[in-house]
């Protein structure tokens, strides 16, 4: 059964100045349940736009996108979102942030508390439930964001450069966490990144997007995510195949950037 299906998706923005930006052009893809897709591409190629459409925050100009055969026409709990900066509610504690979705649905408080504890343990924040969010470090904030999204048990998890603002070490730990969660929950995940390594490490599938107009430039099926479930991520990075793919994609993106520069001049 195919889960997330995009057909001829087009997104054209009109800027206040009257210019039009063709952010996405004729996007066709299918994402099966339980797949982990990473999306890579130069800045401005429409990655966030794609995610926003999938989340239901904006409507495409034309084309359709369906999840479980249901057309997406607005935000919903079945599609959880993790933002680059966490977008946590800083006036709430960690636990209150995590249980926000359940509280809004007025779920049983005792049940909710149990789930919160579970998820805090999974993301490695056991005992931080009563900590005010604004006191957390960047990595911890992203863990809270992950838990907040996952506690709603969404079918699809959308992550927009979730690890982009983290330092290298924290980032590596978080990458393992994402893989662990993917394995344990079997969720469908779309993860956007601007790091080639991350895209290769985490993506079962990988789309490299090209800008102007935004489109899928190349598609990969990768073994590294499955390897990462059993193996140390640093070991994978030393893999010959991995290095070759990395160089190939870096080159590709370089060329795209050159092209953009050329166009502008």
């Amino acid at each position: 059964m195919s889960d997330l299906v995009s057909q001829n998706l087009n997104m054209i923005f009109k800027t206040p100045k009257g210019e039009t930006v063709h952010a996405l052009k004729d996007l066709n893809f299918t994402l099966k349940r339980g797949e982990l897709l990473t999306v890579l591409g130069p800045s401005g190629c429409g990655k966030t736009t794609l995610l926003n459409i999938t989340a239901g925050f904006i409507r495409p100009t034309s084309g359709t996108i369906t999840l479980n055969d249901k057309e997406i026409d607005g935000p919903g709990v079945e599609r959880g979102m993790v933002f680059q900066q966490g977008a946590l509610f800083e006036w709430l504690t960690v636990a209150e942030n995590v249980n926000f979705g359940l509280r809004m649905k007025k779920k049983d408080p005792i049940e909710t508390q149990k789930k919160v504890d579970e998820w805090l343990e999974i993301v490695g924040l056991k005992g931080f439930g009563n900590t005010p969010t604004y006191q957390l470090s960047g990595g911890m904030q992203q863990r809270v964001a992950l838990a907040r999204c996952l506690i709603n048990d969404p079918d699809l998890i959308l992550m927009d450069e979730p690890l982009g603002a983290l330092d290298a070490l924290t980032r590596e730990k978080m990458q393992s966490l994402v893989l662990k969660i993917w394995k344990e929950t079997g969720k469908t995940i779309i993860l956007i990144t601007h790091s080639v390594e991350e895209a290769l490490l985490l993506g079962e599938r990988l789309y490299v997007m090209a800008p102007r107009p935004g489109r899928i430039h190349k598609e990969y099926n990768l073994p590294f995510a499955s390897m990462g479930l059993k193996q140390d991520l640093r070991e994978i990075k030393k893999d010959k195949d991995f290095s070759a793919k990395r160089e190939e994609i870096l080159e590709m993106i370089w060329n795209m950037e050159e092209e953009i520069m050329g166009k502008e001049n």
Partner: protein
């Protein structure tokens, strides 16, 4: 007593803290370079120095130090002022403090006046030659008056004797004045004086007017001499008054002068009578000449050396009284800065900063007095509690028509003049509050009224402003629709609205609360709007994805996210409301701190004015500190999101 202790305490605090500060600078290794804000940390001792300095300056310039250390000095200086005043007229006759004799300067002045008139007449085109000759002859005659007065040979013996008599009196006074027991007061006189002193009270004492219960103005300086030294001056002043009266009654008019001046007056009178109405100018000139003649007649003009002995006597007395002042002069110079009491002469008021700058001790006493609920101000306490029956509120809340719609009729009185109660009547009693339940304490008074007005204005502003502001931050219609309304009234200074609003809604609470509501409303709307439109889109998106409804997003995301702006807005609004309220209470009303200050201004009750200033400052500070505490407590995440 208290003032003395306080003054000493302050003095030692200042010195001690300065020494401590200096030692700290020497012993402490300051490794913070210049410009490092750490250098400004700490320094409580400098706070003590700063505030002590302020208090010291206040104590000094309000003459409270003088009052604290020399409470009798003002009364004594007042007596000195009396002497100075009595002596003034006599002294002015001689070149003691002036440059020349009064006679000399008067002669110079009148000569000049006569010459001026003469020139005017000669050059005038209004007069024919004949008239000119007549008028000039008048002037010449008047001119001849002066030598008749200044000629020593013409001075009459009688006058001479009188002058000697006056001189003798002054000398006797000087002699007596220097005796320790002057003015030889009898026991009875002493007792009477002491009683009067007691009745009058001390310098700056506050008295309660028993009738109205309001606070009388502070008595500045008591008039009745309280000390022996003061009494001396007081008595001398009275004697001097008599002496100088005698002198100024004395006229140096010898027969020649009398004849001459009579002749002038008669001639001019006759001349003026003969003039027709068209010759008014000539008449005026003639009149002016008579005026000068009269001035010469009543001036104390004497031959050059006739008053020499008297002059000496006056100088001698003056020196004697200066001697007798002794230490008082030092006190006057050093402890009565920017003014003096002596300058006021016999009226004994404070002339200088002591007048408008109330003494801390008086201010404190008056404050204590005003704080008493039985005194208060204008029959209303500053802040107190009264017992109010709950029924009053029930009657206020329940509308009266509840009784009207009940079936039946209100009771009617019967033949024997009694009224039988029925259900409808009983309900009416309840809804109008005409029954007794139990009493609860309710605060009231000037401070409470002011506070309540600010509070109500603010609460209404928040209740309406915050939702409206949030709405305007999120909705294009609301923003467009309400923006013109708010931008139309907001830029107008609130006080500019005050006269209009107060005249429409009344001088009581309604008008003022509405004015403050207007002030707080615009501030609350603007801050809530800024808070709402400043919400990060990603937070809204996150909330949507987590399944929150629109209402929930407003309640759980947008509102808390705007809270820092809203609370800051409240803080600004409180300040604005407070300022506006006090000014509005100036304009109209019968209660409130601003009202108190306005009334005190009318009666020059400087202490009350300063007390109200102080209360307002303290309350403003209290509001701000409280709000700052609340803000820190409720939004600890501020600036860290």
């Amino acid at each position: 007593m208290l003032t003395q202790i306080v003054t000493f305490l302050i003095f030692f605090a200042v010195i001690g803290c300065i020494l401590y500060g200096r030692r700290l600078i020497k012993t402490e290794k300051v490794d913070a370079v210049f410009g490092n804000p750490e250098r400004a940390l700490g320094g409580t001792h400098w706070v003590i120095v700063g505030s002590s300095f302020l208090l010291l300056i206040w104590l000094y310039y309000s003459w409270d130090i003088a009052k604290g250390f020399y409470p009798k000095s003002a009364n004594e200086l007042c007596q000195v002022g009396k002497v100075n005043d009595s002596l003034l007229g006599l002294k002015y006759q001689f070149p003691i403090e002036e440059r020349e004799f009064k006679s000399t300067s008067q002669i110079k002045k009148e000569n000049k006046n006569l010459e001026k008139l003469s020139n005017e007449i000669k050059n005038s085109k209004e007069f024919n030659n004949e008239q000119k000759t007549i008028l000039v002859s008048f002037i010449d005659k008047t001119n001849q008056l002066i030598p008749l007065l200044t000629n020593e040979d013409l001075l009459e013996n009688e006058t001479r004797e009188k002058i000697d008599d006056i001189t003798g009196k002054i000398n006797l006074l000087t002699e007596n004045f220097q005796k320790p027991d002057y003015p030889f007061e009898t026991e009875q006189e002493l007792n009477e004086r002491l009683k009067a002193v007691n009745e009058e009270g001390g310098w700056g004492i506050t008295k309660i007017d028993a009738g109205s219960g309001s606070i009388e103005n502070t008595l500045e300086v008591p008039l009745v001499p309280a000390t022996d030294r003061g009494l001396k001056f007081h008595a001398a002043a009275q004697e001097l008054n008599l002496i100088s009266e005698e002198f100024f009654k004395l006229r140096n008019h010898n027969p020649e002068f009398k004849n001459k001046i009579k002749e002038i007056k008669d001639e001019i009178k006759a001349y003026r009578n003969d003039l027709t109405e068209s010759e008014e100018i000539a008449s005026t000139y003639a009149k002016n000449i008579v005026k000068i003649a009269r001035r010469i007649e009543f001036a104390s003009i004497y031959p050059p050396n006739a008053l020499d002995k008297m002059q000496n006597a006056i100088i001698k007395f003056d020196n004697a009284q200066l001697d007798a002042q002794g230490g008082l002069r030092l006190i006057d110079t050093f402890l009565f800065p920017a003014g003096t009491i002596i300058a006021s002469g016999p009226s004994c008021s404070e002339q200088g900063s002591g007048r408008w700058l109330p003494k801390p001790s008086d201010t404190f006493n008056k404050f204590v007095l005003m704080s008493k609920p039985s005194v208060g101000y204008k029959d209303i306490p500053l802040l107190w509690i009264k017992m109010v029956d709950i029924s009053t509120w029930i009657g206020f809340i329940l509308p009266d028509w509840i009784a009207d719609i009940l079936p039946g009729e209100y009771p009617v009185h019967t033949k024997d003049g009694t009224v039988k109660q029925n259900l409808k009547g009983a309900v009416l009693k309840v809804v109008t509050g005409d029954f007794k339940l139990f009493k609860v304490p309710v605060p009231y008074g000037h401070i409470w009224d002011s506070f309540l007005r600010v509070f109500l204005g603010l609460v209404f502003g928040i209740i309406i402003g915050v939702p409206l502001g949030l709405f305007m931050g999120l909705n294009r219609f609301a923003k467009g629709f309400f923006d013109p309304l708010i931008e139309l009234y907001r830029p107008v200074p609130p006080l500019a609205w005050a006269p209009l609003i107060i005249s429409v809604l009344g001088i009581d609470n309604t008008g003022k609360v509405f004015l403050l509501f207007m002030v707080s409303l615009s501030i609350m709307i603007i801050s809530a709007r800024a808070g709402a439109s400043g919400t990060q889109l990603s937070k809204i998106h996150a909330a949507h994805s987590l399944g929150a409804s629109k209402k929930q997003i407003l309640r759980y995301v947008i509102f808390p996210n705007s809270l820092p702006e809203i609370l800051t807005g409240i803080r600004v609004a409180v300040g604005m409301c407070w300022g506006t309220l006090v000014a509005a209470e100036f304009l109209a009303g019968t209660t409130g701190i601003g009202f108190v200050e306005n009334v005190a201004k009318k009666y020059f009750q400087y202490e009350v004015i300063w007390i109200t200033i102080f209360i307002m400052g303290m309350l403003g500070l209290l509001f701000d500190v409280t709000l700052r505490k609340i803000i820190d407590k409720t939004i600890p995440w501020r600036g860290k999101g």
